[in-house]
Amino acid sequence: MHKLVWLIPLLPLLAATVIGIGYLTGLNRGEAGEKQTRRIAVGAAALSLLLVLLIDGIALLEGVPGQLQFGTWLHSGEYAIKLSFTLDALGLSMTTLVALLSVLTLRFSVNYMHREAGYQRFFMVLSLFMAAMLLIVMAGNALLAFVGWELAGVSSYLLINYAFDRTTATINATRAFVTNRIGDAGFIIAIALSLFWVNSVEWPAVLSCTSTLEKLQVGLIAAAFLLAALAKSAQVPFSPWITRALEGPTPSSAIFYGALMVHAGAYLVIRLAPLFEQVPVLMLALVLFGGGTAVYGFLAGLVQTDIKSGLIFSTLGQVGLIFLECGLGWFTFAAWHLAAHAAWRAYQFLSAPALMHFMGRPARPVPRWLARKRWLYTACLQRFWLDSLADWLLVRPTRALARDTQAFDQQVVNRLVGLPGSASAVSSLAQWESIKHGQASRIVGDSGDIGQARGAVGQLMEAVATLLHWFEEHLVLKGGDEGIFNLVQRLGKGLIKIESLLSEPRYLILLIVITFIVIL
């Protein structure tokens, strides 16, 4: 049974591929294709879940399988990355949770997304996400987990962008993705450090590094992983991306931000518990970030007026609490909290669209103590200006820098290398017409005349060519050919003159006299 573990994340991935190919070839487009699409997606997910449950059953009887290996994925020099899965108590229970919630969400979406324009696309991305999430929790090493980590990020981007014809959706998707990339950088650094110091990225090897490495090295690896975890789980100060992520369809919000993806960071921290326990500073950081996020989620959640925002802030508060628990060293408790919260929140999000029908009384107003403190109330409403802070600190400077480099490129680099810039474009429709009819000879500024060049190197080349041309004209051609002609002609004239002089009697006599003198 354990030999089939790799099928668990592969099945949803295959489903995504099949749906994608089917859509490209036009086999499952439109409403007629919905049945086929959902059968593939839900079927693959259910099969996955079945496999997981079977392994669970075996685990209950015989104990957890632990680390499983399926050959080598990459091999370069002394570095080898294996295709391995970690199905210990934590991994297996998380896998069960992910598979179960994913299947439920997929089934829910079958009705919810009916007759939506991007039905096939939605199921494809959701299957992809399921595969990614399974990879994260099952992976036996950091690199394989990172593959899932990134796939989850990409599918998150694609689902926030579900309504890609709306500007807000695309802006939010980009913002969420870019924020996540900060965490990805941390993950990559952590992988690199592990490879460098531990020579392996297998979870058991990384976790046992505490005995061989120095405190600082352990701390650095753990800190890099912590950065990844904070970004993925939307802890302060990365929190704003998750509110922007609500742009996607409700089932995706449920599974991504309510239940599963938001917990990926927490899972990573729990997985790496032995590392964090070695570094008190990081435990403190976990407490601070987690506590901060819990307070942030609680306060900002109080003032929300729409149901999805209210739910997401309360999610943030709970995930913050999970981090806090980790910081206090209660990792097992945090894992229980995680599972319970994920299940509960998935239910809440999925029922959110229908929740209004069940609500008998109006929503609770803002509590009085908060309403009284106006500065706090404003801060809550503004979500503690985290978004504007990121704008001010990162987005605007980056944009300004981009503008400056663009200007530098156009003003200096383009001129230096002689790129035409925008001058060669057709400037008017009339010009286009005349070019089409063969009247205009060439587009103005299209390219210089023969022997002219743009750019610094081009100018140099032009100058040298002009110099050589002058040399050729004056010395080689005129000095050579015409010079020879002139010389020959002058010589000929001189000879004719001597000849004519010699033919005159006086010179003839003189010549004879000279001859006689010489002979005598």
Binding site: I435, K436, H437, G438, Q439, A440, S441, R442, I443, D446, S447, D449, I450, G451, A453, M461, V464, A465, T466, L468, H469, E472, L475, V476, L477, G480, D481, I484
Partner: protein, 537 residues
């Protein structure tokens, strides 16, 4: 030359052209003169002198044309084509008999000419001259094919072209310096009349210029030859005897003699700064003659230089830096001037100066790779310049302009022109997959062996080449359709054949250069062996 005289005598007696050929062939076959110095002489087919026969085919063609009435233009052209084709088939047929793996000359024929002076009529080919012979017959045939538009004095025109072919073939096959010099000078006569008679507006100046320049160079060559003859003990003009004599000379004398050869051959090649005749002659000559000029005549110069270098290796080693410097300068100089030209033919002419710079660079490396590159570049440039002059000539016949600014978007009107011209220009840039690439690669490898990273300077020349080639492709074939160029005729079947043959050659040599490399490998190894001993000491 005795043979020549014999035919002229026979001409007066006989009447029918067919009988002349039969009689002369029989005479040639039966006489079988000569002191055979090499056992390879046995290879003469049916006791006949193969190389003499090859030399005589165009001469016969010319004689036959001389007997035809001048009004029969079509018949004259047919005879010329037949003669060209016969020479082509004959020379390419020699490939079957030629043994690439053997050192030294093959198909050798020696007949004493003037024993007191030590001259002889001796022919022979090796791995360096044989490709040149093949190139010469091929390009001459192409040139005759492309001469369909010559309408006045066709009789004289074709006679002169065939005589030119005979003289060129003789230069590549001669194994005696007197014979070499004689045939070298003999090429001038038909060319003078061809440029002066059928050229462009400034044809008279161009023809005179060409002859004066080459004669001027030849004087230096003659002096060198005479000095060499005088100082060598053997008192013979045969190439091998002279070589052994010359190598015994002190370095200073060798250098002085070599400088004479350098001027003589450098004019023809051409090497900067004695290339003044070339732009005018190439531009003013009728297009088929431009094909021959750049395709073969220039190669005579570099071929002669290789022979002289083999004779005077110590001088060559001493002058190596000078030659390399001249080569690099020619490369960049020619390229930059080509870039400045608005006249398409002038552009190709200057690009020839640039490309022959690579040949000189390859020769100057004095090692196997470089010399292979030089000979390959001679072949590649023959094909590339030949096809460029062919195509531009055909284009000029249709548009009557050679100014690049008058052209635009020929891609849409004449796609075949566009394809073949682009291919030739790209091959000139030495794009991989074309003959030029193999040549430049060898030259660069050879240069790297000889001078190390200094050879990177060659890349400047390559960039300039790319600049004018791509510019020309862009100007000719892209852009808006010119109203004047709307109804140009594309390549006709005959023209297509000519262009297609050259293009095939360019690509074949680029993809599968091995047979040609093997053909010349032995001779080049022998050639470079002459320098290795000197360089080592």
């Amino acid at each position: 030359m005795l043979h020549f005289a014999g035919y002229f005598v026979g001409l007066n007696v006989e009447t029918g052209p067919l009988r002349i050929i039969l009689a002369a062939t029989a005479w040639c076959t039966l006489r079988n003169p000569g002191i055979t110095r090499s056992p390879r002489n046995k290879r003469s087919l049916f006791g006949m002198h193969l190389l003499t026969s090859l030399l005589l085919i165009p001469v016969f063609g010319a004689l036959l044309i001389a007997l035809l009435p001048g009004q029969q233009v079509r018949l004259i052209r047919t005879v010329a084509l037949a003669a060209g084709a016969a020479a082509l088939l004959f020379s390419w047929g020699l490939l079957i008999l030629f043994e690439p793996g053997t050192t030294g000359l093959q198909f050798v024929e020696v007949t004493p000419w003037n024993p007191r002076l030590g001259t002889s009529y001796s022919l022979g080919i090796d791995g360096i001259s044989f490709p040149m012979v093949l190139l010469a017959t091929l390009l001459t045939f192409i040139a005759i094919l492309a001469s369909a538009n010559i309408r006045d004095r066709t009789k004289w025109y074709y006679m002169l072209v065939l005589l030119l072919e005979a003289a060129m073939l003789g230069v590549f096959m001669a194994q005696d310096w007197t014979l070499f010099y004689l045939l070298w000078e003999l090429t001038l006569v038909p060319l003078f009349f061809l440029i002066g008679g059928w050229g462009g507006k400034r044809r008279h100046q161009a023809a005179l210029n060409f002859v004066l320049y080459t004669m001027g160079g030849s004087v230096f060559m003659l002096i060198s030859l005479l000095v060499l003859f005088d100082t060598t003990p053997g008192h013979s003009f045969a190439m091998d005897t002279m070589t052994s004599g010359a190598r015994a000379l002190p370095v200073y004398t060798q250098v002085m003699i070599f400088l004479g050869f350098l001027i003589g051959f450098g004019v023809k090649m051409p090497i900067f700064p004695i290339h003044g005749w070339l732009p005018l002659a190439h531009v003013e000559a009728p297009s088929p003659i431009s094909i021959l000029l750049s395709g073969i005549l220039l190669k005579m110069g570099s071929y002669g230089l290789i022979r002289a270098a083999f004779m005077l290796p110590e001088a060559m080693v001493a002058l190596q830096p000078l030659l390399a410097g001249l080569a690099l300068f020619s490369l960049i100089y020619g390229g930059l001037l080509a870039w400045r030209q608005t006249d398409l033919k002038a552009m190709i002419a200057y690009s020839s100066v640039s490309h022959m710079g690579i040949v000189l660079l390859g020769i100057a490396t004095l090692n196997i790779a470089g010399l292979t590159g030089a000979v390959m570049q001679m072949i590649a440039h023959g094909l590339v310049a030949g096809s460029l002059f062919l195509l531009i000539g055909l284009l000029y016949e249709r548009t009557h302009t050679r100014d690049i600014n008058d052209y635009s978007s020929l891609m849409q009107v004449t796609p075949r022109f566009a394809f073949f011209t682009s291919l030739a220009l790209l091959a000139g840039m030495a794009i991989p997959g074309t003959a030029g690439f193999i040549a430049e690669l060898h030259a660069i490898i050879g240069g790297f062996e000889a001078w190390g990273w200094m050879i990177l300077l060659i890349s400047v020349g390559m960039m300039v080449t790319a600049a004018y080639s791509v510019r020309t492709i862009g100007r000719l074939f892209t852009g808006p359709v010119h109203s004047r160029m709307r109804d140009l005729k594309d390549l006709q079947p005959v023209e297509l054949t000519a262009a297609g043959v050259l293009a095939t050659g360019i690509i074949l040599l680029g993809i599968a250069p091995q047979p040609v490399l093997e053909l010349m490998a032995e001779s080049i190894a022998q050639l470079s062996a002459a320098f290795t001993g000197i360089q080592g000491s």
